[in-house]
Point group: C2
Chain length 479, copies 2
Amino acid sequence: MKTLETIDIHRSHGSSLQSSLAMQLKMMIQRGELRAGERMPSSRELAATLRVSRNTVIAAYDVLIGEGYLESELRSGVYVGRAAQAFQLQRSVRGAPRKTPGLEGAGPHLQFRAPLPFRPSQPDVRLFPLQIWNRHRGRVLKQNPNLLHYQSIFSSGFDKLRQNIAAYLRDSRGVRCDWREIVITSGSQQALFLLGHLLLQPGSRVYMEDPGYLGARLAFRQAGAEVLPAPVDQEGIVLPGPELKSLSFIYVTPSRQFPLGICMSLERRLLLLQTAVRLRTWIIEDDYDSEFRYSNPPLPSLQNLDKHRRVIYVGTFSKILFPSLRIGYVVLPPGLVDRFASLKHIAEDHGPLMDQATLAEFMESGAFDTHLRRCRRHYAERHESFLDAVSRYGLPLEFPIQDGGMNIAGLFPPTTDDAHASEQLRLHGFDVPPLSRYAITRSRSGLLFGFTSFEPKVIQRSLGKIAEVLEKSVARGGG
Amino acid sequence: MKTLETIDIHRSHGSSLQSSLAMQLKMMIQRGELRAGERMPSSRELAATLRVSRNTVIAAYDVLIGEGYLESELRSGVYVGRAAQAFQLQRSVRGAPRKTPGLEGAGPHLQFRAPLPFRPSQPDVRLFPLQIWNRHRGRVLKQNPNLLHYQSIFSSGFDKLRQNIAAYLRDSRGVRCDWREIVITSGSQQALFLLGHLLLQPGSRVYMEDPGYLGARLAFRQAGAEVLPAPVDQEGIVLPGPELKSLSFIYVTPSRQFPLGICMSLERRLLLLQTAVRLRTWIIEDDYDSEFRYSNPPLPSLQNLDKHRRVIYVGTFSKILFPSLRIGYVVLPPGLVDRFASLKHIAEDHGPLMDQATLAEFMESGAFDTHLRRCRRHYAERHESFLDAVSRYGLPLEFPIQDGGMNIAGLFPPTTDDAHASEQLRLHGFDVPPLSRYAITRSRSGLLFGFTSFEPKVIQRSLGKIAEVLEKSVARGGG
C-alpha cells in the first residue's frame, strides 16, 4: 500500500480532483503496482494520506468500481478487481499476435445494469411501451426510406420533432418559442456542454446554485469558467449582489432545485429575470424533471415569464422515456439560435435520426401523453409509499419538501457525516448519494433518494434495511 | 437588392465567412428585408459586391437552399423561398396566442432526402439489410431489458461494440490497439470536434492537407487553432520543413487523400511518423473510406506502422452502414485515452446504446462482413460504370486516380473556374462540389464525384447530361 502515498493529485484543466485520483489509481492497476485481489485502504485512510476530502476518494472508488478496476465486498472493504488481472495480462503480450480481443476481459462490466435503490433521477423503464415505440419506428422507416441517408438540413434536429416539442412545451410548460429556436441534442448534457463552449472562455464566470447539478458544473469548468457558488434559500437561488458586475450566465433549476427540491418562488423568478437584464447576462433554465408533480400543478417555466428573451431553456426525454435514448433539447433566444446551431453542426452534425423521427411520431400519436400520465400515476404511488415507509421505519432524516419530482432530499442533523452514511449504504447494495457530493462550497448534510424506478415493495424493503444501516452508521460515524 | 451592399461579413470566432454570410442573409429574410419570391443576385455579382470569393457566396446559398430560405430555379437563378414568407408571417404574430406550431411552415424542409448525383461519400442505403438489423435489435432488446437504463460505465461506448471494433480494425486495417483504447463517438465529426477541444487552444497550430476535409478544418478552427495548409503531391502530404517547430497535431487521410484520392506512399508514411516523433506531436489518421478498394488490396493503416503510439485513428460506420446512424469511433494512444474518455463523459455522457448494442450483434453475427462484401461488389461495378461513361461521353475532365473509394476527383485544365461549373451543374439538379471548396489556400481545379449511392443507369444518364452542361459552361465560363 505504500505506493499510494506517492500519488500526486491535482486539478488539471478540465479534470476534477476525483477524476485525477481515479486516473492515477487506474494507471497503477494497469502497471501492476496494485495487484488483483489487493485490499485498498478505506476512504478515510486514503483521504487522510492524500489530504483530500473523503468525498473525493469515495467518488474515485465509485468510478473504478463501475469500470471493474475495483470491487466492493460486503462489509469488508474495497479490493483491486479481477478485471485488473486480465488487463495486466494483456499488456504483457503487447506486440505479440493477440487472441480475439472480444474474448478477453469479459466480465460484469459487459452487462447492462438496472439502477440500485435509490439512485436519483431514474425513470422506471419497465413502464415504457416499447412495442408501441417499435411499431412507430417501423412505420416511420417504411414511409421514409430516405431517413437512412445523411440529411444536411437536420443538423439542428428533425423539424417535425422540433415542432412537436414546441407544441408540448407551450402546452405543458408555457414555454414561448418558435420551433426553429429549438435544437435537438444528445441528452441535456450535450446541450450544457455546447452552451459552455459557446458562451464561456477561460476566466468567464458562471453563477450557479450550490449545491447543484454536477454535470452542469463539470461542463462549465471544462470550458474554463470560474463557477461562483450561489446559496439557495427557501425561495430558490439567492441573487448575486451588486458587487458582481459581469457574468456569462446564471444556471438554475427553478421548477425543482437540484438536489434540494425547492420550487423557486414567483417573486424570486421575477427578480432573477430583472437581474439578468441588468447584468446583460443569460439564464440557463434546466427543467430536468418538471413533468412529475403529484399534488400541486407546476408553475410554468421561468422562460414563460421572460419578456426579454434572456432565458435558455434546457430539457430532456431521458427522464420521461428512457435514459439510453439520449434525446434532449435546448430552446434558444433569437440572439443565440444561429450561433448554437452552427456550433452543433461542427460538434456532431445531426444526431441519429431514426430515434428522432420515431419520437416525433410517438408524440403526434398521443402515445407520449398516455405514457406520461401512466408514469405520473405510478410515481405518485411510489412517492406516497416512500414517505409512508420513512415514517414507519423512523429514518434519522427529515424530508421537508414533499411535492414530487423523481427525487426526495432527506436531511440529517447538520453535523452528520453524510458521505460516511452513503458509503455504508453502498456497502449494503444501495446507491444513495450524499448531498455533499453536489456541493461546490456548502451543502446541507443529507442523502438524495430517487424513488421512481422502484416498485412499492422494493421501496418498503429497502427503506427498512436502510433504517437499520443508518441507525448504526450515523450513531457511530456522524453527529 | 440595394440592402445587400450593407452586409458586413467577417470571420468571427468559430464561424467561417460563408456561415457569417449565410447567417446575415437569413436574418434579412427573417426581418422581411428580402421578400419571398425576390430574385437574388448571381453568386458572381454578390461576390463582387462584397469582395469575397464566389465559392463563399455559392456555399452560403447552398446552406440557405438546404434550409428552405432560398430556392433554386432551373436555369433562371436563385430566389427567396416561400418558407421565408411563413417565417415572416409567424414573426408578425409573436406575442399573440399562436396556432399549433406543428402546422406552420410545413414544406420541403420537413422531408428526408436522398442525395442527388454525384454527392460525395454517400453509401447506397438501399443495400443495407434493414430487416436483419431490426431482427438483431429485437433480440438485443429482449435479452437486455436493462439496456434502456442509464449506464454510467458506458460513456466511452458499449464494451462489446468496442471489442468487436478492435477485432475488425486489427483484421481489416492492421490497427493495433486494446479495445479499451477505443471510444465510440457520434460519427467521426464528434471525434474530430472533441480531439480539437482536447488538444488545441487559441493560437495552437495544426498542419493539415490542402485541399482537405472541411469538417475537420471547421472543428479545428472552432477550437481556435491556426490551420497550416500542407501541399499534397503524388505521394501524399508534403512534410513540414525544419522551420516548423511546434504543432499540436498533423491531420491526414493516408489511405485515400480527401478529396484528391492519393494513397500515401510507404516512404512518406514512415517519414511522417518520424516527423511526429521528432516534433513530439500527434497525428490524426482519418481513415474515412478505406473499406472500399476494388482492385489492389489496401495498405494497412498508418497506425499499424506507428511504434511510438503517436497516431490517433478515427473511423466511422456512416459510410458502411447508413449515415443517419451516426456511430463513429476513435482509437487513442495510451497517453490520451483517459483524458479523451473524461471529455467525452462531460460532452455527452454515453451515446444512444440501443444502436451500439445492435451494431455489436450485427458485427458478431457476420452480417456486417456480408454487407460489406455486398457493398464492395456493387460499388466496384459502379466505379467501372462511372469510368466507362466518362470516356463514352468525353467529359472535359481527367481522372488520374482510379483505385476505388467512394469518390473520384476529376481535374479540369488549371485555369478552369470549377465553382462556376459546379454551380451550373447544381442548376441542373446535380450535386458535384468543386475541388476548390476544399481548398485552404490552394487546389486543383476540378470536381468531386461520389458514385457509390447511384445505380449504373443513373450514373450513365447523369454523366451524359453533365457532359452537355460542362461543354457549355466550361467553354463559356472557364479557361
